[in-house]
Symmetry: C2
Subunit: 366 residues, 2 copies
């Protein structure tokens, strides 16, 4: 299976190097790695270096990485602006999909050729090879497409947990979210559809608004309105065919979040997972006291850390993978970029334009 994959992915020149890696399999592997020795702008501080990867230890799994996305948080981590600060020098990247090459003596859960994703944050996935412990990996089926697998561990769990963990929602209940066209936002609408929930999406006004509304409704949104429509006094009338939302998901903050909070049903909850406007969430006192609205935050890194090896985590991934394989979920629009062209991909991530958030995924052809 390893050689089949190589044939599918790599160029003839790189195939020769892969062969030489195969020959060295009992010694060590030379992994191309995007490393940074100090925090700063990725274009300035990232270096593509070759690092020797030793044989896997007893409980380790040697993985040949196939693809790893560039998430905004990865860039913030390199810049040193994120709460996760890996010790330097560090390899960039926090999620990715790969294939098991070899396993340490005590490893039981993984076998050569299996497809795996990295489920722990901060290990460095922007590289061709790495050793991970068993607990840092999750086995996924081969039939899952590479882009969905590479982006399985950050965005889909964020959407999944925010819909599951804050308000008990029954079929027909309604949620509202801003940033509806973000990568997480798109998953939210699809999960709502899969679970029989109504969902209202808020987006910024734009020239191709109707096209975006149609796209999000196809994904599963019950209604899509602009920030301006949300701010209008008659917004509740406009949304009167839908039940008052019991949950609001906020990745914007500022006035947009306050406007969204006004639509929440009594005892509703707003979960914040981003702050794109860079403005705080402002809560009028009466909403807290008399409407019992509460405001929480969600950080997937934290959740994954607290649920390492726990059944809830495995159950979630099983359900998400099933949704992907049945076509009920599709990942964000994406573009595969070879690892060595990382500068272009990082620049494009920092400057995403277009109707819906596009993900740049590094492909580790080596």
């Amino acid at each position: 299976m390893f050689s089949q994959l190589l044939r599918r992915h790599i160029t003839p020149t790189l195939q020769r190097r892969a062969t030489s890696i195969e020959q060295r399999r009992t010694t060590c592997i030379c992994a191309q790695s995007l490393q940074y020795c100090e925090n700063g702008e990725p274009a300035d501080v990232l270096q593509l270096v070759e690092l020797d990867i030793s044989e896997p230890k007893m409980n380790e799994v040697l993985v040949r990485l196939l693809a790893a996305p560039i998430n905004p948080a990865d860039i913030n981590t390199i810049q040193g602006k994120y709460p996760v600060k890996p010790p330097l020098p560090a390899i960039a990247g926090n999620e990715g999909v790969g294939e098991v090459l070899r396993t340490g003596g005590s490893v039981q859960k993984f076998k050569r050729g299996q497809r795996v994703v990295v489920v722990e944050n901060g290990l460095g996935t922007w590289r061709t090879h790495a050793n991970f412990t068993e607990q840092q990996l999750l086995c996924i089926p081969h039939e899952m497409d590479l882009a969905s697998a590479a982006t399985l561990v950050v965005n889909p769990p964020t959407a999944y947990r925010m819909l599951k963990d804050f308000v008990p929602l029954a079929q027909g209940d309604c949620i509202i979210q801003n940033g509806a066209n973000s990568a997480v936002g798109q998953i939210v609408h699809q999960l709502c559809k899969a679970w029989g929930l109504k969902s209202i999406g808020i987006v910024r006004n734009r020239p191709n608004l109707e096209e975006l509304k149609t796209y999000l409704k196809l994904l599963g949104a019950s209604e899509v309105i602009t920030e301006e429509e949300l701010a209008q006094k008659d917004v509740a009338t406009k949304l009167c065919k839908l039940p008052s939302p019991r949950l609001a998901l906020n990745c914007v903050g500022g006035k947009n979040a306050s406007d969204m909070a006004k639509l929440l049903a009594a005892k509703g909850v707003m979960v914040t997972y981003g702050g794109m406007s860079r403005k705080p969430v402002m809560i009028p006192t009466p909403a807290l006291i008399f409407k019992s609205i509460s405001f929480c935050g969600f950080w997937v890194t934290h959740w994954m850390r607290e649920h390492k090896g726990k059944p809830e985590r495995d159950k979630m991934f099983a359900e998400l993978i099933e949704f992907f394989n049945k076509g009920k979920l599709k990942g964000a629009k994406h573009e595969m970029v070879p690892l060595k062209e990382y500068k272009t991909a990082v620049a494009a991530t920092l400057n995403v334009k277009g109707m819906v958030g596009k993900k740049y995924i590094l492909e580790m052809k080596c």
Copy 2:
């Protein structure tokens, strides 16, 4: 017992009327009542009228009210600015203590002479007599002093529930609150002391600051600082002998609330129960996402409605009454004012000055 009480409280003139009430006991009672027929300023719209009170129905209890406090929310209700809007004409007042005069045929829990407090909101307590249903009353011991009994149902449960229902606190854990010298704030510090919790109080700067600090520390505060000290960068150093607070109680809002939120431990909760600054609570996104701080509200009226006749409510009142009787709790400073002098008392409540919040309590000498 009834006549003994009369002898203790009323003037000779009024005693004659009371005697005439006694004579009419099988017909009806003429109750002096502070009624309003429209919303507006209490001084303009309140009228002291005599209203006939009929014999108690099957499940009713006829109560002679002894004392009822003037809470800010009572004034807001009369003004029509409060979410509770009793149908007009309405009798003002929401809590009070009284004595059972007579009971309806099916009443089993109450007997003549028992001391009772009104536990339901919006029934009108600024009057000399009223019929209540069994469920609207709670029996309290005679030894409880009149002022503590009259103010048992709003402020102490607010403090109690906020300390019990949002964060599981263990002995030695710490909480922080602004408005520490408010009526609720004083109860909070005392309950913390009784339960072995550390508490930090925030107060506004004032000429007699040291006196206030001493007073609140005597009540049970572990530390008392001013709003200005709270806003200083080294505030955490100043409070380093105390554990990071896991719960913040906010009745101010605005910058003060934001400053308090910064001191909260990860996963801490801020509960808002008032908004004296009339400014919203502003939450920086990172506090929500990376520190998992959450923000809720508490409204005692709502809690009491949802826990009508439930064991949690009875358990809470039993514990609070025990604390009052053992001297572990004392109510806010207060002044008794005769019912007919309600205008002075309302004006004084609207213009409270002095070191700690003072409660004006209407005394129903009739």
